[in-house]
């Protein structure tokens, strides 16, 4: 029976990485078994991930998202290498004030929006003050296009977005820097002409679950400069998202770009405190 033994149960990531898309906090729809700070740091350490961008899961569902970010800021005091991305709901009228306060008091360096759970369209007028402010201050906007698989939603259905919606967002706000999180392979493929014309867009890899060789397929369409590693930990299995890059049929230099260089060059080395 030895011939059936899988060969990949051992071994780790041979090069270090940054994780653009991880979270701490609670998730209202199911028990997360590995969601505290120690779990995240251990999982990152095992996989040679040295830092990244963290946001608050609690803030997604709080009436006042800022309270979740206050809690996260306390945790991040002891986590060098990790950058606090502030979770906001731009439908709330005080969002820009919160972003100013977050940067000054909590040390946040980016904002993250969740249209999937906060249920607005990208052309909602309430987004304009936030995006205008982020453009003026050159604050990157992280857009969480979806979280868990729609088909497994429980109690609350996520609003669905597709390539046309993303294109409309990029066309309406061409001067904002966007980090688009958990986009699907078919969406990136459809958006390739738009993406290739922009230097203000970065996608993370956490949504590339569909099909064999999905990372390779993205690279074929948009090259290696606009794709960066993100895990969606603790909702998704981190090792799964990492294998998509590690095992991709790309050169080591290309993998290095996806695993950390692109995040650094898009957001700036100082963004990560390096």
């Amino acid at each position: 029976m030895e011939k059936y033994r899988p060969t990949l149960l051992q071994g780790g990531n041979p090069m270090s990485a940054l994780d653009l898309n991880c979270m701490l906090g609670r998730w209202p729809f199911r028990k997360l078994r590995h969601s505290n700070t120690e779990d995240l740091l251990n999982t990152h350490r095992i996989n040679r991930i040295t830092g990244g961008c963290i946001s608050s899961l609690d803030s997604v569902f709080y009436n006042d998202p800022y309270e979740g970010d206050e809690d996260l800021a306390e945790i991040l005091k002891d986590m060098p290498g990790y950058v606090h991305i502030q979770s906001v709901n731009p439908i709330l009228s005080f969002t820009v004030d919160d972003v100013i306060k977050g940067a000054e008091s909590l040390g946040t360096k980016g904002v993250k929006i969740y249209p999937c759970y906060h249920q607005y369209d990208f052309d909602a007028p309430e987004l304009e003050p936030l995006f205008r402010f982020c453009e003026e201050k050159d604050i990157p906007v992280f857009v969480q296009l979806r979280m868990e698989d729609y088909r497994a939603d429980y109690l609350v259905l996520q609003k669905q977005f597709g390539a046309k919606d993303i294109q409309a967002l990029l066309e309406k706000y061409p001067n904002n820097r966007f980090v688009l999180l958990t986009a699907r392979l078919n969406e990136i493929q459809a958006l390739a002409p738009v993406i290739n014309e922009s230097d203000k867009v970065l996608f993370d890899t956490s949504g590339l679950k569909d099909g064999l060789f999905s990372v390779e397929a993205v690279v074929e369409k948009i090259g290696t400069d606009k794709l960066a590693y993100g895990s969606m930990y603790p909702l998704f299995c981190l090792k799964s998202t990492l294998l998509l890059v590690e095992k991709a049929q790309l050169t080591e230099a290309e993998k290095k770009k996806i695993l950390f260089e692109n995040a650094e060059s898009f957001l700036g080395k100082s963004f990560f405190g390096r």
């Binding site: 899988p6 149960l9 429980y154 064999l212 299995c237 981190l238 799964s240 095992k247």
Partner: protein, 244 residues
């Protein structure tokens, strides 16, 4: 133990899977052909012929399930041909009938006679549920009707939190977690309720592969449990081998 070739793109699927198996170190794949929601008998025959073709082309790599549409009696002949003449070692039901539909009974009884496992597509979807798409409750119904049959419930029925508990007491139901829902906790939750002994490694290739392997690698279960999931349970189920 759960991969596909899709009608109309068979060669492309097989080529991609063969490449993936070589790159990722996969020793065996169990193919079932898929030919649409309610395939006619000729489409069923055609897609099964592709599976037979790949079994011959890759004799060390490929095993076959016979796909049937129980709405057509002619598929019984297909099952006989694929198992008795072609050497397929399982039967696949997709979405032409819910798995506890009486139309399926003669097919299940034939599988019991052949002593081959039955792979059942199952998925409970919040949105987009298909007309004859089985859920874990359908799987439990049929497993209780045929306790002597071995069933594999695919995809953890789409969502482990609704899919596992209905079949906990059905010892003749194995569970695969193939597909692209790769939540961090799915394996540990499933092991907690049914044990690693009843979980088998499927991927839904060419739909996905690495995300499923990553789930096993990251799960906080013992190495022995990982070995059981990755290959030992499948070997025991299909080849009747006693694994120490």
């Amino acid at each position: 133990m759960h991969v596909h070739v899709w009608k109309g793109r068979e060669e492309k699927d097989m080529e991609a899977m063969a490449k993936a198996c070589e790159l990722y170190g996969v020793d065996k794949i169990f193919i079932s052909g898929l030919a649409g929601e309610l395939p006619e008998p000729d489409a069923i025959d055609e897609i099964n012929d592709y599976t037979l073709k790949y079994m011959k082309r890759y004799p060390d790599l490929v095993e076959g399930y016979c796909t049937v549409n129980p709405r057509h009696e002619a598929c019984m002949n297909t099952l006989r041909r694929c198992v008795e003449d072609g050497g397929m070692i399982g039967m696949k039901l997709w979405i032409a009938t819910k798995c506890d539909d009486p139309l399926n009974y003669p097919f299940f009884e034939k599988c019991i006679e052949y002593d081959i496992p039955i792979l059942l597509h199952a998925w409970r979807k919040t949105i987009g549920q298909l007309r004859y798409e089985s859920t874990a409750e359908n799987v439990a119904n049929i497993a209780r009707r045929y306790p002597e049959a071995n069933f594999i419930m695919a995809h953890i029925a789409g969502n482990c939190y609704s899919g596992v508990k209905p079949v906990v007491d059905c010892k003749n139901v194995y569970i695969d977690f193939s597909g692209s829902v790769f939540r961090a906790d799915d394996i540990e939750y499933t092991v907690k309720w049914v044990g690693a002994e009843r979980i088998v490694f499927g991927t839904d290739m060419p739909g996905s592969y690495l995300v499923n392997e990553g789930q096993v690698m990251e799960a906080q279960i013992s190495d022995e449990e990982k070995e059981m999931i990755m290959w030992k349970n499948t070997a025991r189920l299909f080849y009747k081998e006693v694994i120490r």
